[in-house]
Each structure stands twice: as C-alpha cells, then as structure tokens.
Point group: C2
Chain length 251, copies 2
DNA sequence: TATAATTAACTATCCAGTTAATCAATGACT
DNA sequence: AGTCATTGATTAACTGGATAGTTAATTATA
C-alpha cells in the first residue's frame, strides 16, 4: 500500500511478516501468552488470521518469534555500559542506570521477560532460554567480572557478586513491578517523570554508598555517572489502567 | 467425612466452603486467574462445580475470596518483626529476613500477589487493593517510621526511605522471581537449602553494611539477627517444572 | 414440610487452528 | 513482447474442543 510501484512479491511478504511480529509483540507483552488473542493480533496487523499460521507455525511459534524479536534490540546498550575503560565500580553504577532506563524505554521486553519468569515456574517455558542466551548470560558474566575486579583493586567492598546483581536488578524491577501497588500508597504517581528521575538518582546514590569501600568515592562516582547518563524519555505510553479492552472473557 | 455424628448442617456447609477455598488458593496461585480452571478447583475440592457458584458468585468472586483468605495469614509475622523494642536498624534487618522467609514459606501468597501486580498493570485488578489494605500499607508505614527514627538517631545513613524498601523487597522478590533463569546460569539450584541459606545471609549482611552509618555496627546487627532468626523450612514443595499438568489448551 | 446443600446434565461462547478457494507476482516458453 | 501455468501470498468461512456459567431436579436437615 505504501510503496506500490516496484514492490517485489518477496518484499511485500517480508513486510507483512514484520507487521505481524510487531502486532504480536504488542499483544503478547500486554496480555501474556495465554491472554493474547490471535484474532486480536491479526486484526491489529490488518491481516488475515490464517497468515499467522502461514508464517509462524502457531501461537507458540509466534510467541517465540516475538520474544526473539524483542530480545535482539536489547543487548548492545547493556554491554556498552560495561565498557572496560571505566573503573569496575563505575561500570556497575552505569549498568544499574542502564537497566533502569531499559525498563523505562523497552517496556515490552521487560513485560515479556517477567511473564516468562512466572510462567517457567509453573512449567513450560521455551522463551526463557532465549532471554538467557542472548541477554542474561553475557551481561551476568561481565558484571561478575567487574565485581571481582573492583574487590581486587580495593575499590569495592567485599560483597557476594550475586548480591550486587540482586541489588541492582531487584530494586529496579521491583520499582516498576510494585508501581501499581505504590500508586495506592503514595501521594504521587511513580510513573511521573519527576518521580522516575528521583528514584533513578536515589538508586545510584544508594549503590554508590553501599558498594564502594570509600563512601565518599562512591558518592562522587554516582554523581558523575548521573551527569553522564541523562534519563531518556519513556518509550511507550505509560501503563494504561484501562479495563479489559473490550474482551469479554478475561477469566 | 471426618466427624459425622452430630454434624450440624451449618458446620458441614462451612467445611465445604473451606475446602473450596483451599482448592481455589492452590489452583489460582499455581495457574493465575485466567489460567485456573473452575472444573479443576471443583474436582480438587471433591465438590460439584455448581457449588462454586452457590457459595461464591463466580470465578471472580472465588478469586477475591482466595486472595482475602491468603492475605489474612501473612500480616502478624510481618508486624512482629517490627517490634519497637528493637533498634530501628535491627527492625529493618528483621523485616528483610522476615520477608525472605515469608516468600519461602508462603509461596501461594507471593505467587498471587505477583500475578496481581502484573495483572493490574494491564487493567482490572480488584485484588490488589486487598493486599494493599491488609498487608502492604501497615507494613510500609512502620518501615518508613523505622527508617526515619534510625536516621534521626544517627544509627542509619541518610537514605531515601523508599529506597530502603525497594532494596529489601526488591532483592528478595527478584531472587525468587529470577530463580528459573538463574538455574540456567548457576552450577547449583537456587532453591537448594544451602543456596537459600547463603543468600539469606548475604542479603542481611549487605543491608547491614549498606544502611548503617557505622558499617561494623551494621555487621554486628546482621550477625545477631541471623542468629535469632533461623531459616524456616520451605512451606510447600519446591516449584515444579512439570509441564502443563495435562491441560490441553494452555494458550 | 420448608429450606439449605448438593448434584448431573446442559448451554453458550470463546478461540486456536484448518481448509479450500482466490488473487497476484514470476518466469518459462513461445 | 505476450501468454499462461506455477508458485507464493492472502482470504472467508468453518470446526472442534475447552470451559465459565446455568438449571432443574434431588437429597438431607431442621
């Protein structure tokens, strides 16, 4: 429709494939695997439902493809934050900020991964290995390496390397995970730009004082890293508390 | 069935009501609201399905009742850890341990609450307000109070009170949430008793050094609290990676 | 006998996946 | 170049099974 003149058949096909994938990412990330409706995906992609089965083998296959699609976009940034030209401690602080920002800008990825985690717990997770292979493992390795290096050089306290990871990721994930609940508790909206910015700051500062042997040094690093990494604008619309989007049976 | 002699009609009714509720808690916590099957609940409670609609208005109503049921069991412990006869810092460490142990022993509660959090994000959460009212708010208030008191007395660093909460809960929640993924990364199972015990220890020690102005003092507190609060045995079977439990359509 | 508890059987609907037919490039062969 | 069969892309309409919720009859108790 957009460019019709010399549209090779192949090109058009690739295009619709992409359209389906994008629609699938949207639907799956907001409704989960079992909550997503194939009809909805087809409609949202303006495509006949049978095409989902033509291009991807079925709902499962489409889900897997969506997961793969969304994972691919994530890795580079994460590894850039771990550039070895920074000191070990600074790499950790950068990674923490980067993680926060990624949740902010790539909600779909985060949503899919969280759903996948609770899903695996009850059986049947084929997508988690994908996350693990493409994103988690390379990151984890570099993080542990940074911690070891930081402890060795005396820059960081002697902490369990895993604890560092749980502190960084845990606090960030939990901030967004608990936001709906916190909305009930707080006098402001945790998704407001100001609230996000404050949290981001508090988080890095906390890690600075917690991880560095010299707390003052940690504070300095936190300050510097914050100055170097401004908060990005949220990628998609803030999470909508909109009701059931017209679907009758959410049970 | 258990005591048949003078079983008042009323008693038997209450009994079956309870049976249904317990079955519902099991089913909902392992499969989520939409994943749970009313037939499965009825069968597991050894009761005709129509009774679910007789006692509770429907699936939604049953879900709400299950949430209420499971929340009731949680609060006392949590508040006991915040006994004001302990110093502010110690209360925080105790709360952190208590939270860890609660996740360990009351998986059903945790599972339901997490599911509820991701659900609310996409609309339609009636159960979260229950969690909030009965569990979250009272706890949050006391925690913030403890932080303020600790900072005032000079025992604790000047941290954002919310940051403390995110650190405590976030790390714990994330540990269990990420366990399936970590199983792929680690040479041991994060649900092994030994792994759990080590994590629990590392977590409190980290908080000790992170929160207290005097790190040595924090370490002492951490040590003492660990000695006073032994790790309980996990309440239910470790999370089963069992596949789809025979249900055909998990999509 | 009236009322509460319980059941078997049924209905309605939703929804993943299929089928068979149509449409449109492509390129092979005049 | 023009034609047409082949193959890939796309569709409308359907199927079957799963499952939330209902109903009307039955049992047991007070």
């Amino acid at each position: 429709m957009t460019s019709q003149a010399p549209t090779r058949k192949h090109d058009r096909a690739d295009q619709t494939r992409k359209k389906i994938l994008r629609a699938a990412v949207r639907e799956f990330s907001t409704h989960g695997l079992s909550g997503a409706r194939t009809d909805a995906i087809a409609k949202s992609a303006k495509v006949n439902k049978a095409l989902l089965y033509y291009y991807f083998k079925g709902k499962q296959g489409l889900y897997a493809a969506a997961v793969e699609e969304v994972s691919a976009e994530v890795v580079q940034n994460a590894l850039a934050a771990l550039d070895p030209s920074f000191s070990a401690g600074e790499r950790l602080l950068r990674s923490a900020l980067n993680h926060f920002d990624r949740i902010l800008t790539q909600r779909e990825f985060q949503s899919l991964m969280q759903q996948e985690m609770v899903r695996l717990r009850q059986g049947s997770g084929e997508a988690l290995p994908v996350f693990f292979r493409t994103v988690f493992r390379p990151l984890l390795e570099k993080l542990q390496q940074a911690v070891a290096e930081g402890i060795g050089s005396g820059e960081l306290c002697e902490v369990d390397p895993l604890q560092v990871m749980y502190s960084i990721f845990g606090a960030n994930v939990f901030y967004f995970l608990s936001a709906p609940m916190m909305q009930l508790a707080l006098p402001f909206n945790p998704f407001d730009n100001e609230a996000l910015s404050l949290r981001r700051k508090a988080m890095v500062e906390f890690l600075g004082t917690a991880l560095f042997t010299d707390r003052a040094n940690g504070a300095v690093h936190a300050h510097r890293v914050l100055a170097h990494m401004p908060m990005p604008k949220p990628g998609i619309a803030p999470p909508s508390i909109t009701g059931l989007r017209g679907r009758r049976n959410a049970l």
